[in-house]
């Protein structure tokens, strides 16, 4: 169960988010500039909320009350960035294995081998290429493989399909859904596309940018909406 109460004060607006969900894909939906990425960054530990609490199952990642702030590297939260953030000077294989010390998963308590993850994301044939030599869809698969290789407890995806063409997007949409079912960890996915929200979301949170954002006390309303999928 992922629980989060995040309050983050930014210049010109305040983000106030409450969410709790346990399985499937949670879609954070809202227009650009609504603070969706900030919420992901807070969950991942890349930004610090001004106050609130973030926990996954029995692990508390952040609590302003108890002065807990676990750094990103110890949270075991995977993150697929909007621009993929692949390391441009490393091959696909080096990218995918970056989070595995010693580059070998044997006897380290992982569920899946390196090859299994590469095969699942269909990137084995690309392993010696550099990110600059990949198409958008291929980059996305490598970013997914890299994040999933370390077998995180939660996966965050920031606009994972926005940079892709229509066909690639449709294929990857189906694959993402399937991936979540196989992996059985919660996904939190940010999008501003209504179609994507309907196609992927098991649960949806609307992040609405309050029109009264001039006031520092303005809060955005978050409405949990159970979606029948």
């Amino acid at each position: 169960m992922l629980r989060a109460e995040i309050r983050r004060i930014l210049p010109g607006m305040t983000i106030d988010v409450e969410l709790a969900f346990s399985r499937g894909i949670l879609v954070l939906f809202g227009p650009s500039g609504a603070g969706k990425t900030t919420v992901l960054n807070c969950l991942a530990g890349l930004q610090k909320p001004d106050s609130g609490i973030i926990s996954l199952d029995d692990k508390v990642f952040f609590s302003s009350k108890d002065s807990i702030n676990i750094p990103a590297r110890s949270r075991r939260i995977g993150y697929v960035f909007q621009d993929y953030a692949l390391f441009p000077h490393m091959t696909v294989k080096d990218n995918a294995l970056y989070g595995i010390p010693g580059r070998c998963k044997k006897d380290q308590g992982y569920r899946m081998s390196v090859l299994e993850v590469m095969e699942m994301l269909k990137i084995t044939h690309l392993q010696d290429r550099y990110p600059g030599q990949l198409s958008g869809g291929e980059k996305q698969r490598v970013a997914l493989a890299r994040a999933l290789m370390v077998e995180p407890d939660l996966l965050l995806l920031d606009e994972p399909l926005s940079a892709l063409d229509f066909t690639t997007r449709r294929n990857l949409q189906a694959e993402l859904k399937q991936l979540q079912r196989i992996w059985r960890i919660p996904f939190v996915l940010v999008t501003h596309s209504r179609k994507e929200m309907h196609a992927l979301g098991d649960e949806v949170l609307f992040l609405e940018n309050g029109k009264h954002s001039k006031s520092l006390l303005s809060t955005r309303v978050l409405t949990p909406l159970q979606m029948a999928v």
């Binding site: 590297r73 960035f81 970056y98 550099y130």
Partner: protein, 228 residues
């Protein structure tokens, strides 16, 4: 004639090594951190580039001289005096060339996409490994450019070196000082040869830097076309 050349190369290389270590640390901090008075610190770092070298030389004399803050400490505790040794030439060269190293390195660090470092963090990586495997390799072309420029500048250092290291043949007389002495004492031939040597050395460093940076850019482009 070989003495000043070897001394100059030795001084410039050690000065650049000092610039490298300090430059990397300072540039990295300045590229990623915001703090009060950052502009003041930054201006102070760049200052040696625009001040007359004699001002720096005078400052170093005051600081490292027998009665200087650090000079007296070194003399009393280690019986070591840096003024009028070739280490003083190293110090002067390192300080004068530091802004070149710092500016290139800072621009290089700033150009590394912060989301790459963040991606590494979410993969469970510690800060030192991130710096060594992501930040440093991606910033390397800019850092190398800074090193070459700093080396060329250190090689040509004259004013501050003269003030703190003196002009002692075989001990602290680098190429620029040897040229000055040769001209002063009417040894035209020696002066010409030394002028040729330092011009060729500096030109070679800059030429290599230019060619290398162009090849580097073309190499990246070519690589993606060949294999795509």
């Amino acid at each position: 004639m070989t003495e000043p050349i070897i001394l100059s190369l030795k001084v410039a290389l050690i000065a650049v090594c000092i610039d490298f270590v300090i430059g990397i640390v300072v540039a990295r901090l300045m590229a990623r951190r915001e703090f009060m008075g950052k502009n003041i610190v930054e201006s102070a770092i760049i200052l040696p580039m625009v001040l007359p070298p004699t001002v720096l030389g005078y400052g170093l004399l005051i600081f490292f001289g027998k009665r200087g803050l650090l000079g007296s400490f070194l003399l009393e505790n280690f019986d070591f005096q840096i003024i009028f040794t070739w280490w003083a030439a190293v110090l002067a060269s390192a300080i004068v060339s530091f802004p070149l190293m710092y500016q290139s390195a800072k621009a290089a660090f700033s150009s590394v996409d912060i989301s790459l470092e963040n991606a590494a963090r979410t993969l469970g990586t510690g800060e030192i490994r991130i710096f060594l495997t992501i930040t440093l390799p991606l910033a390397w072309p800019g850092i190398l450019a800074g090193l070459v420029l700093a080396f060329a500048r250190a090689l040509g250092e004259f004013g501050a070196t003269l003030m703190v290291a003196g002009n002692i043949p075989g001990k602290t007389q680098t190429i620029p000082l040897a040229i000055y002495s040769a001209v002063e004492s009417g040894e035209e031939e020696l002066a010409k040869r030394l002028v040729l040597v330092i011009t060729v050395l500096s030109f070679a460093a800059l030429f290599w830097l230019n060619r290398w940076s162009k090849e580097k850019i073309q190499g990246w482009k070519k690589g993606s076309e060949n294999n795509a």
